[in-house]
């Protein structure tokens, strides 16, 4: 299969995903109506669909570790952030799962847990595990971002605490990224010898020049650098919030 053929045909029209998205959009408008911020919600659904039905998903599904990492980042960082942002101001959550420590562990754990070789392999081969993974990433990502983007100001961390929260998360994910980048062994052995379901392997290894070593390196670098760039952007947003807030500073050092 050539690159062109691949990008035109390898869309995974997964009926469950499409159905769930449609239900979610209807549910959102039914529950919040005009009170919410629908653009963010639509954005979340679009990114979600892109991660799960675009050719990236086909690549992540057993071909390329790096494509899996793109999917992973979208599902754990981008989609949940947009989801939380789409909630109306009146929305509030009162449960122990909104403790900052839980949020931090969820955000960082989502990275580490699903890159344990066994789990990573299982998620790339079994559809059930993959569905569990997707769901858990969305939940853990939401718990992570809740601390910073909750609709009500009083439910968010203070900006300075938020910076510490983000910086430590960035460090924890960088360490994993560094390990993935430099590891001489395959973290997710499935991707070393993919089952060539779509007849794409020769194109990937040949035309794209992505050997399995290089693939894992790119995956590690994706977790290390662009993820940290996302956290860094969030840190700058916290600083902007701090400088624009009229209320007393809260030092959490």
């Amino acid at each position: 299969m050539t690159t062109y053929q691949f990008f035109t045909t390898a869309w995974t029209w997964n009926s469950i995903v499409l159905l769930l998205s449609a239900v979610a959009v209807l549910g959102y408008f039914f529950t919040f109506g005009k009170r919410g911020r629908p653009l963010y919600f639509v954005g979340a659904v679009v990114v979600f669909l892109f991660a799960l039905i675009s050719p990236f998903s086909a690549l992540a599904n057993g071909y390329l570790f790096s494509a899996h990492m793109v999917q992973h980042i979208l599902l754990v960082l981008i989609v949940p952030a947009l989801l939380v942002l789409s909630l109306p101001q009146s929305f509030s959550l009162r449960s122990p799962s909104t403790h900052p420590l839980i949020g931090w562990i969820a955000g960082v754990g989502a990275m580490w847990l699903w890159h344990a070789p066994t789990l990573c392999n299982a998620a790339a081969t079994s559809r059930t595990v993959s569905a569990i993974q997707t769901t858990s990433l969305l939940i853990m990502g939401t718990l992570f971002w809740w601390q910073l983007l909750a609709p009500r100001e009083e439910q968010r961390l203070s900006p300075l605490a938020g910076i510490i929260y983000l910086f430590t998360a960035c460090t924890a994910c960088s360490v994993l990224g560094i390990i993935l980048t430099f590891a001489p062994v395959s973290i997710c052995p499935v991707y070393q010898h993919p089952v060539d379901r779509l007849g794409m392997l020769s194109t990937i290894r040949g035309d794209w020049g992505l050997t399995s070593d290089r693939d894992q390196q790119i995956g590690g670098l994706l977790m290390w650098v662009p993820m940290c760039a996302i956290y860094a952007t969030a840190i700058l947003a916290q600083l902007a919030r701090w400088h624009s807030s009229p209320q007393p500073e809260q030092s959490n050092a």
Partner: protein, 742 residues
């Protein structure tokens, strides 16, 4: 009169034995941040002369083709010493001296948070400097460059003790720097005056506060690397020896993971100086305070992600190159934001061209140029061509001299009046300025061209290739201009110190707090602080009819300094142990023949680990007993904590002993090298923790905690103890548990 020194007083202080002893003691044992600041700067100045003379010899050797003024080996030693001296013994102490003097004044503090730690940090500087240069007498200075690339720095290739002195000296300097950063962070968080909220910090203070975090990120990584290098050289480890299974590239990663942030560690204080001076001499508040402040944070985060651009020529592979190209280019954005803000501050202002401002303007132009050549190095393809040429030498001298040294040359006449009570001479200052501008640009602009013509760096001489001769000669002539400028500067300092015009409290009509006290300030810094509601308190006093807008709330929250300090220290330790654990994992992934993690006695280690973890619990009980003022119970639990820690250490000794008996020691293979290093450093930390706890036990025994003294120091020691336990969780998981899962 006004605290200034006259030449008669100085003579008396030197000649009268009683007074001389008084001043010697007063300066050598000082814990006052102002005196320590001056000592830092004097140390920097002395080594500036040393490093400058080294540079002079380098340029003399390179002035003409086929020169044999210096022996090749001497040349290598000189450029190693020059680089190490200028970075660790000139730039850092000089900048830290300014910070030490000015920062507490700017936030209305009486002193740094930990004055004695401050003195310790300072005395590390001359000690490290002397260690480094003592290597010349001790059998051969290091001759491997300031980056000390392995395996050249290893015993088989550099057998003289020069590298050992180099590594120990840098380690000592690193400890001093870390203690300085811990102190700075704690001072800013816990010692601000009333009304000085974090949002109102002057930019010099803010940037040095943020910069201190960068120090705590970067320096421990270098210290871990130096420890590995010393273990290789002294204990026959193999970290960086490829033929024994080590990795020379690992050293480069470790060194540049420190080395690139280091550039920002020395440039951010310079940025802070510029951000103070440009508004004052433009008679305008800084343009976009928030952007200048926030871009500093962006620089700190990004600068930890770009070190790979120092290694494009190593051959890291295309994906790595690509990512490091992108991050390296990204960092130009926050830096560019700063340059634009400084320029915009000058725009439309009533600019006064006093000497400090002249240096600021030269800084802006030269730093922008350095930034542009820097961006060109971010491109791997171009970097491959220019990396090992004089183009790179020119680039980083534009950063270090054109930006950092120029900022300091401007900051000296700016803050000298505050330190001495007297103004520096304007006319002599202009001489220094023009001699430096001409000399610096003459020396280094042409080196860009030389580099593009193909002249490699780190060579002691070169053949008579057309064009190279006159360009090198021009470059060498420039050095004499800079040398002359420096002599004028030294004369200016000495002359102005005794004869300069009396400055008064606020000679520049500046707006930050250091100008609200006398020049020089009294021992306790301020008699009374002015009210603070904005970022320019002195402007508000001078212009009560049109004060600056109030920034945020007046309420200042000051966390306990003991806890803040220990948390900052723990933050640095994370980097140290993180590096050791990553190095362990790196070699764990390449198993060698011989002993391995499978041979370890996991059940026994688990038992001893339980003792260590239990000691965290007993410490907590002891803390509770202290709060409830139950002395007996507190002593009991603390004693038990120490006993449990001791049992853990004995377990480790036992484990080592058994390994030694089966013939496994540090030099056996990569596993044993990394294993003993990682667990050994953890054991060392347990030992230090035990000593600290024993001191507390003794104090408590003596009844020191019986009265109303708060237990914050005790809690801080507890933080450290818990941290040591947490580190063991990670060591246990990586060293003992991970192999079981294979």
């Amino acid at each position: 009169m006004n605290g200034t020194t006259t030449i008669e007083e100085f003579k008396e202080a030197v000649l009268d034995p009683a007074k001389r002893r008084h001043y010697q003691l007063a300066w050598l044992s000082t814990v006052d941040h102002k005196r320590i600041g001056v000592l830092y700067m004097l140390t920097g100045l002395v080594f500036f002369i040393v490093g400058g003379v080294e540079a002079l010899f380098i340029r003399l050797q390179l002035a003409v083709p086929n020169n044999h003024l210096l022996h090749p080996d001497t040349f290598n030693k000189l450029f190693t010493l020059h680089g190490t001296t200028m970075i660790f013994l000139v730039a850092m102490p000089l900048l830290f001296g300014f910070v030490n003097y000015v920062l507490p004044l700017q936030i209305g503090a009486r002193d740094m948070a930990f004055p004695r730690l401050n003195a310790f940090g300072f005395w590390c500087q001359p000690f490290g400097g002397i260690l480094l240069h003592f290597s010349i007498l001790a059998g051969g200075a290091p001759a491997v460059g300031w980056f000390s690339y392995a395996p050249l720095s290893e015993t088989p290739y550099s057998s003289t003790p020069g590298i050992d002195y180099w590594a120990i000296a840098i380690f000592v300097l690193g400890l001093g720097t870390i203690s300085f950063a811990v102190n700075t962070i704690t001072t800013v968080i816990s010692c601000r005056g009333p009304g000085m909220t974090m949002r109102r910090l002057p930019l010099f203070t803010w940037m040095n506060f943020i910069n201190s975090f960068l120090i705590l990120i970067a320096l421990p990584v270098l210290n871990a690397g130096l420890a590995m290098l010393l273990i290789d050289r002294q204990l026959e480890g193999h970290f960086f020896l490829p033929f024994r299974g080590g990795s020379a590239v690992l050293w480069q990663h470790i060194f540049w993971a420190f080395g690139h942030p280091e550039v920002y560690i020395v440039v951010l204080p310079a940025f802070g100086m510029i951000s103070e001076m440009i508004p004052v001499f433009s008679r305008k508040p800084i343009f976009g305070y928030e952007f200048v402040a926030a871009s500093t944070v962006a620089i700190v985060v990004l600068s930890s992600l770009v070190w790979g651009h120092h290694m494009f020529t190593v051959g890291m592979g295309r994906p790595m190159d690509l990512f490091f190209i992108i991050t390296s280019m990204l960092i130009a954005i926050p830096t560019g934001v700063k340059v634009l803000n400084w320029s915009a501050t000058m725009f439309g202002g009533r600019v006064r061209f006093d000497v400090p401002m002249l240096f600021c303007i030269a800084f802006l132009i030269q730093f922008t140029f350095a930034g542009l050549t820097g961006v060109s190095h971010a491109s791997a393809a171009l970097d491959w061509q220019t990396k090992n040429s004089y183009y790179l030498v020119a680039h980083f001298h534009f950063v270090f001299v054109g930006a950092i040294v120029f900022a300091m040359l401007g900051a000296l006449p700016y803050w000298f009046p505050k330190m001495s009570g007297r103004m520096m001479s304007e006319s002599l200052g202009r001489w220094t300025f023009w001699l430096w501008v001409i000399g610096f640009n003459m020396t280094f602009i042409i080196q860009h061209v030389l580099g593009l013509y193909g002249m490699p760096r780190r060579i002691f001489t070169y053949p008579d290739i057309p064009g190279w001769g006159w360009m090198n000669m021009l470059s060498t002539i420039g050095v004499f201009f800079m040398g002359a400028g420096s002599l004028v500067l030294l004369w200016n300092i000495a002359h102005s110190f005794f004869r300069g015009r009396v400055a008064g409290d606020n000679p520049w009509n500046a707006w930050t707090l250091e100008w609200a006290t006398t020049s020089p300030p009294p021992h306790e810094n301020f008699v009374a602080l002015p009210p603070i509601h904005s970022r320019r308190p002195l402007w508000d006093i001078a212009n009560p009819d049109r004060p600056d807008p109030v920034v945020g709330d007046d309420q200042v929250i000051l966390p306990d300094h003991n806890k803040t300090g220990i948390l900052a220290f723990i933050f640095s330790e994370v980097g140290f142990f993180g590096t050791l654990i990553l190095a362990y994992l790196y070699f764990y992934a390449h198993p060698q023949a011989g002993p391995g993690p499978k041979g370890l006695d996991v059940p026994r280690t688990l038992i001893f680990s339980v003792c260590l973890f239990a000691s965290s619990f007993t410490f907590w009980r002891s803390e509770v007993a202290l709060t409830k003022q139950r002395r007996g119970s507190m002593l009991g639990w603390l004693g038990l904590t120490i006993a449990l820690g001791g049992v853990f250490l004995l377990g480790q000794v036992n484990e080592y002993w058994k390994l030694f008996q089966t013939g496994v020691d540090l030099s056996t293979n990569m596993f044993s090298t990394t294993f003993f290093t990682l667990t050994g450093f953890h054991g060392l930390h347990v030992l230090i923790g035990l000593i600290v706890l024993l001191i507390f036990l003794w104090l408590a025994w003596e009844g020191d905690f019986a009265s109303s003294r708060p237990g914050s120091a005790f809690k801080a020691a507890g933080y450290y103890w818990h941290f040591v336990d947490v580190v063991w969780v990670f060591v246990l998981l990586t060293v003992y548990i991970l192999p079981l899962m294979r």
